[in-house]
């Protein structure tokens, strides 16, 4: 699974813009360091909004997206009849 990969703490200035724009509520400002952190990685949707908004190029998002639900992955079967 590939999603948001990295927030470079050497570059991050803690402005909070990435936290603000993330539609999936993945990011937070760390209370101790005051810098951005990835808090809920699994729910990232690879939409790049955090990367676009970051003023210091601290955010990297991988272009390969996580596995998405697709109709062909499975078929609904009647569990009662096997």
């Amino acid at each position: 699974m590939k999603v948001i990969q990295l927030i470079d703490t050497a570059l991050c200035k803690g402005c909070g813009s990435c936290v603000e724009v993330c539609p999936m509520d993945i990011l937070r400002i760390d209370t101790i360091s005051g810098l951005a952190k990835i808090a809920f990685l699994q729910e990232c949707q690879t939409c790049y909004q955090c990367m676009v908004v970051c003023p210091t190029d601290a955010v990297s998002v991988c272009p390969r997206r996580k596995k998405i639900p697709m109709p062909f992955n499975y078929k609904m079967e009647d569990d009662e009849n096997g």
Binding site: V21, P23, M24, Q45, V52, V61, C62, P63, P71, M76
Partner: protein, 579 residues
């Protein structure tokens, strides 16, 4: 690539009283094009206080912003009658023709207004700013919007966002609305939770516009946050929803965020292959690769039954497409596809070099909240705009944005009119304030064992199988209805959240569960095939019996009340004259 943002994205809060209450004339929920145009129109019509609330960032996280921003505007030079006919036909005669007519007729004015505000459209190499809408013969859309150095959806969002700010609209970001307030049968505000702190906020208003978009069931297109929230808000209040059996399908890459581009690309000579390297779409649809996106998705399902896939491939090596896309990529676009291209390029991957694996993808529910021409729902004081509102069952590229602008403007103006003539809420009091506030945080108080992300995974397992999504049949639908109801009853006891983040996800899970139930119920009722709705056991379009809308509403005790309403074609401009 860096984008300038017009206005600070930290336009966070307006005026909040000590008890976390916000008094306003109008509350607008959702800040995409639908919400922002509502807010602007309400302020322009003389309302003093308009609060716009978004569970993400105002404007910045909406579908509208992530979109390419391609928009159908019918200007004085365009053939209105031809476009109107084509749209109604595309929407399989289930659209609200009165709305479509007004939307198209006034869309040219919307374009002019935005131009006055500084928006402009780039010209294509052939000198025109427009391109054909994929899957249609006549419709054209303006494709490359620009505003203050930004291209794409960000341009059309920021132009209206700046106008709302200039007129004094108050922005509340990161607040998820979880329930509406009512007073003597009228809507009078809402309750929400702050996603950062988990605090409850109360908005007291004299009218509410729902502009929360549709539902993707957490799937593709970077719209995992479109979770049917507005559907549930309206449903809980007793408003009707229509066309919920339509779930838009399209095709795209399973690996990269490359999707919903093939309808436009096919016009530039791009082609689909099956697993044997053969063209196949023409076997199932006469328009072949140039067919509407859902027909390609269905052709993939048919071809699977004949052993031709998956995998399928999409060949984007056509020179015209490559050149066209490079033109787009040179622009600073806000949509995610542009960023993905840049990242691919950085990693040395060229998507135009060889055919890419391609699959059918389910996108968003096409139905929505039923309103009158003024975008008012069945409930006084409650309005709906954008894709949360029911206007047409078949989304077309370029129509979703213009319909959000049109319905937003309509809802805002009518809400202002309604509010100016309505009573003062302070005199009557709110009927359900403590109940709404306690429901807002209920999952935090629950000690159950199921987490929201697990529920979302289960919903996906119920709705995504292809005999539920692409090729439905009654047996599978009944099984899925049983499964979703079981899930709902387990959730009532077991769904728990232990952080503000999980609290908002728990609400999203509940909203998606309801949306799934509405989708399955309407899908089972419509015993025919029409547009995106394909029934394996009723494969033909049945114009004799099914030129009808299916309306759903809260029937109490956990039941959905259903109503079948003939489309009033005799009152509409275009009647169906086929067999």
């Amino acid at each position: 690539m860096k984008l300038e943002s017009s206005g600070s994205i930290f336009t966070k809060r307006g005026r909040i009283a000590k008890d976390n209450t916000i008094d306003t004339d109008l509350l607008v929920i959702g800040s995409g094009l639908g919400g922002l145009w509502s807010a602007w129109a309400a302020l322009d019509s003389g309302l003093n206080r308009v609060a716009i609330v978004d569970k993400c960032s105002i404007g910045e996280s909406s579908q509208s912003k992530m979109s390419a921003g391609a928009t159908v505007y019918c200007t004085k030079r365009d053939p209105f009658d031809l476009w109107f006919k084509e749209l109604v036909e595309q929407q399989k005669y289930l659209s609200r023709q009165d709305m479509v007519e007004d939307m198209l007729k006034t869309s040219g004015q919307l374009l002019e207004k935005q131009k006055e505000w500084g928006l402009w459209y780039e010209k294509m190499p052939w000198g025109s700013p427009t391109l054909h809408v994929g899957g249609t013969k006549n419709l054209k859309m303006h494709v490359l919007p620009r505003y203050k150095g930004i291209g794409g959806g960000g341009a059309i969002v920021n132009v209206i966002k700046d106008q709302v700010l200039a007129k004094g609209g108050e922005f509340y970001s990161k607040v998820m609305i979880t329930g509406l307030l009512h007073s003597q049968g009228k809507v009078c505000g809402a309750v929400g939770v702050d996603r950062m702190t988990g605090e409850t906020l109360t908005f007291k208003s004299r009218g509410v516009v729902i502009a929360t978009a549709d539902c993707s069931f957490g799937n593709t297109g970077c719209i995992g946050h479109s979770t049917g929230d507005g559907y549930k808000l309206a449903y809980d209040m007793g408003a009707r929803l229509t066309n919920m059996e339509f779930w838009g399908s399209n095709t795209g890459s399973p690996q990269y965020s490359f999707e919903s581009i093939s309808d436009t690309a096919a016009n530039f000579g791009c082609r689909f292959y099956n697993n044997k390297g053969q063209y196949f779409t023409h076997k199932y649809t006469s328009a072949g690769d140039k067919a509407e996106p859902f027909k390609i998705a269905q052709a993939m399902a048919d071809e699977a039954e004949n052993g031709g896939g998956p995998p399928y491939y999409f060949d984007m090596r056509s020179l015209a497409w490559r050149l066209g896309y490079q033109l787009v990529l040179k622009r600073k676009m806000t949509g995610f596809v542009t960023q993905m291209f840049e990242e691919l390029k950085r990693q040395g991957i060229d998507p135009f070099e060889r055919p890419m694996e391609w699959v059918p993808l389910m996108r968003t529910i096409r139905g929505g909240i039923r309103t009158d021409m003024n975008c008012m729902t069945d409930i006084p004081g409650l309005f709906a705009a954008g894709t949360a509102q029911a206007l047409d069952p078949n989304g077309l590229n370029g129509i979703s944005t213009v319909r959000a602008m049109w319905s937003g403007q309509q809802a805002g103006r009518q809400a202002a009119r309604y509010i100016n003539g309505s009573y003062d809420i302070k005199a009557t009091g709110v009927d359900n304030l403590s109940e709404a506030r306690s429901l807002a945080v209920k999952p935090l108080k629950n000690s159950g064992a199921i987490k929201p992300v697990e529920v979302i995974g289960l919903i996906q397992m119920i709705v995504f199988p292809y005999n539920i999504s692409l090729k439905k049949d009654s047996k599978s639908l009944l099984m899925a209805i049983r499964a979703i109801r079981n899930l709902k009853s387990v959730m009532e006891i077991e769904l728990a959240a232990d952080s503000p983040h999980e609290l908002s996800k728990a609400h999203e899970a509940m909203n998606m569960t309801l949306t799934a139930e509405l989708y399955l119920t309407a899908s089972l009722l419509r015993e025919e095939s029409r547009g995106d709705h394909y029934r394996e056991d009723y494969q033909k379009t049945d114009n004799k019996n099914w030129l009808k809308w299916i309306n759903l509403k809260n029937g109490g005790n956990g039941n959905i009340a259903t109503e079948i309403e003939p489309v009033p074609l005799n009152k509409y401009k275009l009647d169906y004259r086929g067999g």
